[in-house]
């Protein structure tokens, strides 16, 4: 075990995957000499060479579409979108091509490929370097969408994603990159795509979250325990598609109260599906209202520090709503 932050864990897992299998190639803007703007591919060019560490032109549609071609012909591409905000020019490739290749060819062709994209706010990124994009893609059948939030999960799920015969959109919350550290095994291991994870056990209410907000929930839960003796169970969704309904519902059935927390624009966000699922499947197990905390429905967070704070749900807000729900 080694203590690492999220970005180092991802770097190391990707590095090991490349070292272990020369079908793995990385491509994206600035992944070469620069080692990625977040340093995820630092040192890769020197070690693995230009043919496997491909600095692409500034063209996200091509990055994803070329990865499709590579995956069709025996490679295991890991494409990097520099910021999740810039995946939109590749939307057609993601939705029409990546997600549908297997289905439309009736199983004849498959796409073992990964698209990595750093997402989320809290980094002074303003309107175009802070976005949550998971709701767009979680809705697309044929695409697996994962949102690991700890070093352990990130490394393990990246390994699972590269091994997966199907395309995986691998979303890395930028704010967690250097903020969150934890123990990571030194031996290769995988965290399966699919299962959610109970990150903190509790009995009074369930908070369901992912990304930076997961850590806010954990902090709020600790505060509630400390200050009020309230026991909050925190479920880390980890995979948005396919969604692990069982783990979520089991927790909600146990505690009888549920709260979903995410930083994306609230309306039509991924949290809506989670709330809807609970409402449909566990309505009669609930002892309190269903609570949803999401980012405000404004185009994105501002650059000014106080505007960014006004956008992002914080620990105080989450703790207050938890308390309210617990006391309901």
């Amino acid at each position: 075990m080694t203590e690492k932050n999220v970005v180092t864990a991802i770097h190391d897992a990707l590095h090991d995957a490349m070292a272990a299998d020369d079908r793995v190639v990385v491509l994206g803007e600035d992944v070469g000499a620069r080692g990625g703007v977040f340093r995820v591919t630092q040192g890769f060019l020197e070690e693995f060479g230009e043919a496997r560490v491909i600095d692409t032109p500034l063209a996200e549609g091509a990055i994803v579409g070329i990865a499709v071609g590579m995956a069709l012909h025996g490679l295991l591409p890991v494409a990097e979108i520099e910021f999740a905000d810039f995946i939109h020019p590749a939307f057609d490739q993601m939705v029409s091509e990546v997600a549908r290749m297997r289905y439309r060819s009736n199983g004849d062709f498959g796409l073992p490929m990964v698209v990595r994209a750093p997402w989320g706010g809290g980094v002074h990124g303003a309107l175009y370097h802070s976005q949550s994009v998971e709701a767009f893609f979680a809705h697309v059948p044929g695409l697996k969408v994962v949102v690991p939030s700890t070093p352990y999960d990130a490394a393990g799920m990246l390994r699972a994603a590269i091994a997966d015969p199907d395309p995986v959109l691998f979303l890395e919350h930028k704010r967690t990159y250097r903020l969150i550290s934890g123990e990571v095994p030194d031996e290769p291991y995988a965290v399966p795509i699919g299962p959610a994870d109970v990150k903190r056990e509790g009995t009074d209410l369930t908070a369901i979250s992912y990304g930076l907000m997961l850590h806010h929930c954990l902090e709020a839960a600790a505060r509630l325990e400390r200050e009020h003796g309230i026991s909050v169970e925190v479920v880390d969704v980890r995979t948005l598609n396919p969604l692990d309904r069982e783990t979520i519902l089991a927790s909600v059935r146990k505690t009888g109260k549920a709260m979903v927390v995410y930083e994306d624009n609230r309306t039509y966000g991924a949290g809506a599906e989670i709330v809807a699922t609970i409402a449909e499947e566990a309505l009669f197990d609930l002892d309190g209202p269903l609570v949803r905390i999401g980012g405000p429905d404004v185009p994105a967070m501002g650059f000014a520090t106080n505007l960014e704070h006004a956008f992002l749900p914080d620990v105080d807000l989450i703790a207050a709503r938890m308390l309210e729900l617990a006391r309901f």
């Binding site: 994803v64 057609d92 029409s96 289905y103 062709f109 015969p165």
Partner: protein
């Protein structure tokens, strides 16, 4: 500026035997007759959607002929009946697709007709969004080079496709890495109803190759041998590691865009008639008669033979089983999905 391929090359010089030539001719006639049958089936209510090839047979068969089955990769678009016949699809396969049957090799009846694909034949599955297959062709070419193979990727599209951003992005990447891929533009002067002068301010699509650092070649799409010659050279360049080529074949589509279209709204009958006078099949026929590869009675007899085969395949395909709706959830992922 793009090269114009005007020089006549003899079939021998191109390495084409009499058998090759007859085979090419038969493939072109097959494409034409498949079209005619498909439109008849459409009128009979048996084929809800038809995408015609007629007019494009020369440029399709000519270019596709320069690739090798079992070695090279084909990335066609919906109009490419001629290309996929060369690649190894049969009329039966095509009619299975037309009727959306379970055994349709492209998609098992999931996709619209003419959305080709077959791993076995090296035909890459494509979708409807125009030009979206181009980066796939380029990525495959990258993988070919990476793996040290000597295959070449052929990719086909209309001139309309060249307006899409992803077309530009794909060609740019291919140029940077000098990949073994050939881009074939079947320029029929219309994107559905939009005439070329509303699509681009230039005369020759091939001129766009200069933006990507590789050669562009204009060829007469009604001259199957010229198309073959252009593609043969491009394939040789690609195989030798000299990078991509953009070939523009000037052609015309004789029927409406699809069976849903009404082309009288946007082009005159005279224009269509005029284009039909340059029919690639008739023209090739004359060459083959001159060369003595065909005798005077051959064209009619070959057409009759193919027609008979086509009719039989239609009946067989029509009788084939429909997809099973219970397969709805199959192949979302490699692992079965529990609805």
């Amino acid at each position: 500026m793009a090269t114009r391929l005007t020089r006549r090359t003899s079939p021998e010089a191109l390495g084409l035997s009499a058998d090759d030539l007859r085979s090419m001719y038969r493939t072109m006639v097959t494409a034409r007759l498949v079209d005619e049958a498909a439109f008849r089936l459409n009128r009979q209510g048996k084929a809800p959607f038809v995408v015609p090839v007629s007019g494009h047979e020369g440029c399709q068969v000519g270019t596709a002929w320069a690739l090798e089955r079992g070695r090279d990769v084909w990335v066609p678009y919906y109009r490419d009946v001629g290309v996929v016949l060369v690649a190894g699809m049969t009329p039966y396969d095509i009619f299975l697709g037309l009727f959306a049957k379970a055994d349709d090799p492209s998609s098992g009846g999931r996709q619209m007709p003419n959305h080709w694909g077959s791993r076995r034949l090296g035909i890459i599955s494509h979708s409807s969004p125009i030009a979206s297959q181009l980066p796939h062709a380029v990525g495959i070419a990258y993988a070919i080079r990476y793996r040290g193979e000597d295959a070449v990727v052929g990719s086909w599209f209309g001139e309309g496709a060249t307006s899409e951003g992803i077309w530009h992005e794909a060609l740019n990447f291919a140029g940077i890495h000098r990949l073994p891929v050939v881009f074939v533009c079947e320029n029929n002067r219309y994107a559905i109803s939009v005439a070329q002068n509303k699509q681009m301010a230039i005369e020759d699509v091939a001129d766009r190759a200069a933006a990507y650092g590789f050669p562009g070649v204009v060829v007469d799409g009604n001259d199957v041998l010229a198309c073959y010659a252009a593609m043969k050279e491009a394939v040789a360049r690609a195989r030798a590691g000299e990078g991509p080529t953009l070939i523009e074949a000037k052609t015309y589509r004789y029927f409406p865009h699809t069976s849903d279209d009404d082309d009288r709204t946007y082009r005159s009958r005279e224009e269509v008639e005029e284009a039909r006078r340059r029919d690639p099949i008739r023209r090739f026929e004359r060459v083959l008669l001159d060369l003595g590869v065909l005798t005077a009675s051959d064209p009619e007899q070959i057409a009759a033979e193919i027609k008979e085969d086509v009719e039989r395949r239609i009946d067989e395909a029509w009788a084939a089983p429909d997809p099973d709706p219970a397969t709805l959830y199959r192949h979302v992922f490699a692992e079965p999905v529990d609805p």
